[in-house]
């Protein structure tokens, strides 16, 4: 029981990270019908910017943890936002309206960076059993809370702001949106930027969580988050969140109770099963439109 609870906490944390990345996939797919395969790399870049920032701030002697966290988050959000904007501008805009197979943009190769010192230490006991104590680290709590806050903010942004309305309009009928005066190119750029910002947050979190970053993390995390988006129903925001959570949980529990080597196999196997029985994903539904 205690072991189960611990895995639940780990799984939710992991799921939060996947969910944040998955939102970027699902939003971009929703609006232009292309999969942004560079999205995992945006997350990787977010993580690297975080590492560089931590190092720089350390050199400058800024060590108050909350301040450091805020600075790192802001810097990596801004830089990856710029990166996301550039990707859309250079790689995707020329392809819009042509074929629907997005190019796969792969990152350069490189070496691993040595582990960071853990920044946020400590935690608390959730439950003490006879043989096993369930812990939630402060970092896990921060990750989950931040994710919940970001997702709530995003849901609000999409549902109730002019930008969100413009995004949904572009998703449903881009030509009509432009006839009504929506600046569709800018709306699409902003969608990439918003997705990139969320991926950056995920990148910062994962840097803090694992303390290790390499140039390849974007590939697997990107693939998992993409799986999460498809599992939840690509194009659906709540679907991406649910998918992320499920993938995180599956991974944590599989590693705990079965073999850790096969955790990725388990994740993708679940995807295959879901797609066989529900091709639109868990929350995606084929639209019945009346003319």
């Amino acid at each position: 029981m205690e072991y189960f609870l611990q895995q639940l906490i780990n799984g939710v944390t992991l799921g939060a990270i996947y969910g944040l990345i998955a939102i970027g996939y699902t939003m971009v797919y929703g609006i232009i019908g292309m999969i942004n395969f560079a999205h995992g790399e945006i997350y990787m870049i977010g993580a690297f910017i975080a590492v560089i920032c931590f190092a720089l701030l350390g050199m400058l002697g800024i060590t108050w943890i909350p301040l450091v966290l805020i600075i790192v988050l802001l810097v990596s959000m801004c830089l990856t936002a710029l990166y996301g904007w550039t990707v859309e501008r250079i790689a995707y805009r020329p392809l819009r309206g042509s074929f629907r197979l997005a190019p796969l943009i792969s990152a350069a190769q490189g070496a691993k960076i040595k582990p960071l010192q853990p920044m946020v230490r400590g935690g608390f006991e959730v439950m003490r059993g006879e043989t096993f104590t369930v812990n939630a680290s402060y970092l896990q709590v921060i990750i989950v809370l931040m994710t919940v806050a970001l997702m709530a903010g995003f849901t609000w942004l999409i549902a109730a702001t002019p930008l969100g309305r413009a995004q949904r309009a572009c998703e449903q009928d881009r030509v009509m949106a432009s006839l009504l005066g929506v600046h569709t190119d800018r709306t699409i750029s902003l969608t990439f930027v918003l997705g990139a910002i969320l991926a950056a947050v995920a990148g910062v979190m994962v840097t803090l969580y694992y303390g290790v970053v390499d140039f390849y993390i974007g590939f697997l995390a990107g693939l998992k988050a993409f799986t999460a988006a498809v599992l939840g129903g690509i194009g659906s925001l709540p679907g991406a969140m649910l998918g992320g959570l499920l993938i995180g949980l599956i991974e944590a529990f599989w590693s705990a109770y079965f073999s850790i080597e096969y955790k990725d196999v388990a994740v993708f196997a679940i995807l295959v099963i879901v797609l066989i029985f529900r091709p639109t994903g868990l929350l995606g539904s084929p639209d019945v439109e009346k003319v």
């Binding site: 413009a166 449903q172 949106a177 006839l179 009504l180 005066g181 019945v288």
Partner: protein, 238 residues
């Protein structure tokens, strides 16, 4: 107000408009009739810059608007309720109307909303319903209402009667007339329902194979033998 001169539009290799000249004066209702595939909708979309014409000029208030991005034309006072209505299916009626007001001053929104609800009380009843679940007539009302939310001076209407019951068609045409008379909105109306359109319009044009074949007042065109046989067969009483 709107002057189209020698406009030629291509869809890939297809020569859709082969040099169209057309004028819409301030306060007029001008009907553009023609068979399926004659290029009527293409002309309206070309005015809105999607697709762009390859040759020719389109003057709006005396300025050539060819090459101006589509989303900026609304801000000049040109609204389009296009072919197929193109309601956002997964948004409520009010949200569709909010998008219609993207280019307008937000301060006017609530009074403009009341105004279009006054024209289309049906939409007020359905205000929180999703666009995709409305009936065809309601969708057409929403398409016109949405176009009006930008406070246009010129309204382009593409086949507002298509697929609607005769009674609803009558309502829609009455409202078009009201918008024109009361609010002074200039209307360029594309229709296959030539009988209704020509009765309502001050002037009309007949488009055949991407070219204007005939023009005149609504009355003249209605009386014309050729038009009667080509476009008005069975049109009476509809």
């Amino acid at each position: 107000m709107l002057v189209i001169e020698g406009v030629q539009t291509f869809y890939g290799a297809v020569h859709a408009l082969k040099g169209v000249d057309l004028k819409v004066g301030t306060g007029e209702i001008v009907a553009l009739i023609g068979a399926n595939g004659a290029g009527k909708s293409t002309l309206l979309m070309t005015i809105c810059g999607n697709p762009k014409p390859r040759y020719g000029r389109i003057l709006f208030d005396g300025d050539d608007i060819v090459g101006i991005p589509t989303h900026l034309l609304v801000r000049r006072g040109l609204a389009h309720a296009p072919e197929g209505r193109r309601i956002f299916p997964r948004m409520s009626v009010v949200e569709n109307l909010r998008l219609g007001a993207v280019a307008a001053d937000p301060a006017h929104f609530s009074s403009d909303l009341e105004r279009v609800f006054g024209l289309f009380p049906r939409l007020k009843e359905r205000r929180d319903q999703r666009g995709g679940t409305l009936s065809g007539g309601e969708q057409q009302m929403l398409a016109i209402a949405r176009a009006l939310m930008s406070r246009p001076r010129v309204l382009l209407l593409d086949e507002p009667s298509l697929g609607l019951a005769p009674l609803v068609v009558k309502q829609i045409f009455a409202i078009i007339e009201e918008i024109n008379k009361r609010d002074g909105v200039t209307v360029l109306l594309v229709e296959q329902n030539a009988f209704h359109a020509l009765r309502l319009a001050h002037r009309g044009y007949v488009l055949v194979n991407g070219q204007i074949a005939m023009t005149g007042t609504g009355q003249d065109l209605l009386a014309n033998e050729q038009i009667r046989s080509a476009y008005l067969e069975g049109g009476h009483g509809r």
